[in-house]
Symmetry: C2
Subunit: 376 residues, 2 copies
């Protein structure tokens, strides 16, 4: 037997029937939730000009993309590594004249030349929803509810959401705790590592309490509120509390890590990360942001959205996904009866020669004299 | 407004909400039919080693693929231009030990550096089913029924099927009408252009009646049967008649063009092309073939399958696809009522600010005091 693992490049793999069935079901469930909330799918191409994929969003690096020269235009093209810039391009382009808020969704594959961190995969599923033209609290609530419901519909259990305030340091530096020029970056770095000593050394003494305003939402938001920043954070805190209250019925567990910024390079005032029990790594992230573009003025158009990366969830649940029943159709079976069975939801597998049997075709049932009979 | 047609490379395009909704629905319908007949989906990666994509099937040319060096292995990779070699690789690799016949299906995108003929598209949808380990009449019948039902489920009307016998000239040359060495290619070429004079000049006088054995199946098969080839075609003719009779209940119109070979480079004894009313160009093709591979011995493993290219069908039906109803949810609506509406199949679109209205959000209905009310 040929060992196919030798034949596929590192970080790329086939999904075989069991995992593929779970993938199909989970991706449909996620899309059905987004569609139900009024999001319309768009289908951008797998490849386009590198320049177009790398613009509009900070934090998306074309050096992570597979790139090649287009023999037709002689310009550089790339495989998409993220759907979000493509959705931004559509919103700013052919849908620039569509009424706002504009609800768009997407689902498909993205590719990068290297996996990230512990995950060697270079091809991933990504699906998500973008609410273009709105970035208020109501938008954040809707996007979070859609994201959580989508994960739950796909099969995630015990979803948890970690809130962050991506522009927290900028806001505090501008309105409450001024920093020496050049110190902002150092303060951000020390907050990332939660190093109180380093933070003090960097001139960020006032920022130290942020390190402790993390963890379970109810406790952490109290600690954040206790920081006397002359009201600079009041509206943010009120917004987070309103969002937390609104998503409570989903049953998702909430945490807060207000200075977390990894992966939120293009987010504005609000960001979140999604996890689920038993699934290694993050399942998705989202938040408010601005789409740069000719049509959006200097500041860009506001938007709120999320992206899900369901591969790890699919791998987890594929193991326990039930296999569907299948009816064996013997040689010479009545085709009309078989068609009727399929029309009411049965799967069938027909014998094509004397050698085929219900067992060899993996069937749970057989068609016997017009009746479906379960096999022992 | 930015003109996005400038921003996308030639032959690549975005599908916007209406066309994307039709795409999603049609692709699901096609997959549901294949799944119902016992086919299991597999998900090969979008890219893999060029060598792997270009082997196993004649007629698949790596110079038509987007190719690039893998920075990790430093080997040439390519974007898939066809799913079929990937399915062959899986069948000969990780599924080499699975019971036969093995029913596999696929659905997704394929890309080529150039469009073909009149169609400039460089990205296409392809979906199909492969029955691996069987290439008898029963296999051909099943594959054709699945293909026709899949097209009908997607929305095709008046499907027609054109049968061909890809190895007809080889069979006749070997068993009935010998040709001078080197004349086979000339005879094939003249048959392609249906040039009786050219056929005679090429020494293929005996092949002239094949030119006229084309058109409506019932008439053409009579003409084919009338060719006295000493019984060399008898089993083929009987097989075609059996297939034709078995697929009659689908309502598909049948034609025969026994010497057609364009697009059947890797097919063996039976091939077919699928069309539908109002759809420009072919919608799919299929037939019997052999998968080359280490595991399959010198001759390769037998298989029967089809590929559909539903883009043109989707473009046609998207124009008449009904838009689904959508319920406007005013500011401050009851979230539980809204969730209940979605759970029974309604789509909703929520107001996020005072400026949002049922009209601006494209809604057909509104939620009014807990009731769904149709808008005039």
């Amino acid at each position: 037997m040929t060992d196919d693992t030798d034949l596929l490049p590192e970080g790329l793999e086939d999904r075989l029937p069991r995992e593929a069935a779970t993938t199909t079901r989970a991706m449909r469930s996620i899309q059905d939730v987004m569609h139900g909330h009024g999001y319309d799918r768009v289908l951008p191409p797998m490849i386009e000009f590198e320049k177009s994929l790398a613009s509009r969003m900070a934090g998306i690096q074309s050096r992570r993309m597979f790139r090649f020269v287009d023999p037709s235009s002689l310009r550089m093209m790339a495989l998409r590594s993220d759907f979000t810039p493509q959705i931004g391009r559509i919103a700013q382009g052919r849908l620039a004249g569509a009424a706002r808020p504009l609800r768009l969704m997407y689902a498909g594959q993205v590719l990068t030349i290297k996996g990230d961190g512990l995950d060697p995969a270079r091809e991933k599923l990504q699906c998500g929803a973008e609410l273009i033209g709105a970035d208020n609290v109501a938008a954040a609530i809707e996007i979070l509810i859609v994201a959580i419901e989508a994960l739950q519909a796909a099969g995630a259990r015990s979803v948890s959401v970690d809130f962050t305030l991506p522009d927290l340091v900028d806001t505090l530096a501008a309105k409450a705790f001024p920093l020496e020029p050049g110190a902002i970056e150092a303060v951000r770095r020390e907050l990332d590592t939660k190093d109180a000593g380093g933070l003090r050394d960097a001139g960020g003494e006032a920022y130290v309490p942020l390190i402790y305003a993390t963890g379970d939402f109810d406790g952490a938001i109290e600690k954040l509120a206790a920081i006397d920043a002359g009201g600079a954070l009041a509206s943010r805190i009120a917004a987070l509390r309103e969002i937390a209250a609104a998503i409570a019925p989903t049953g998702a567990r909430l945490t807060l890590d207000p200075s977390e910024r990894h992966g939120f390079e293009y987010q504005s005032w609000f960001g979140f990360t999604l996890y689920a029990e038993g699934v290694r790594g993050l399942l998705g992230r989202g938040g408010t942001y601005r789409i740069a573009g000719a049509n959006a003025g200097g500041e860009g158009e506001v938007a709120t959205g999320f992206s899900l990366y369901p591969d790890a969830l699919i791998d987890l649940i594929a193991q326990s996904e039930p296999l569907s029943d299948k009816v064996f159709l013997p040689l010479g079976h009545d085709r009309e009866v078989a068609a009727r069975l399929r029309s009411i939801g049965w799967r069938t597998a027909a014998a094509l020669s004397e050698g085929d049997s219900a067992v060899s075709l993996g069937c749970s049932h057989t068609l016997d004299g017009g009746e479906v009979v379960a096999l022992a």
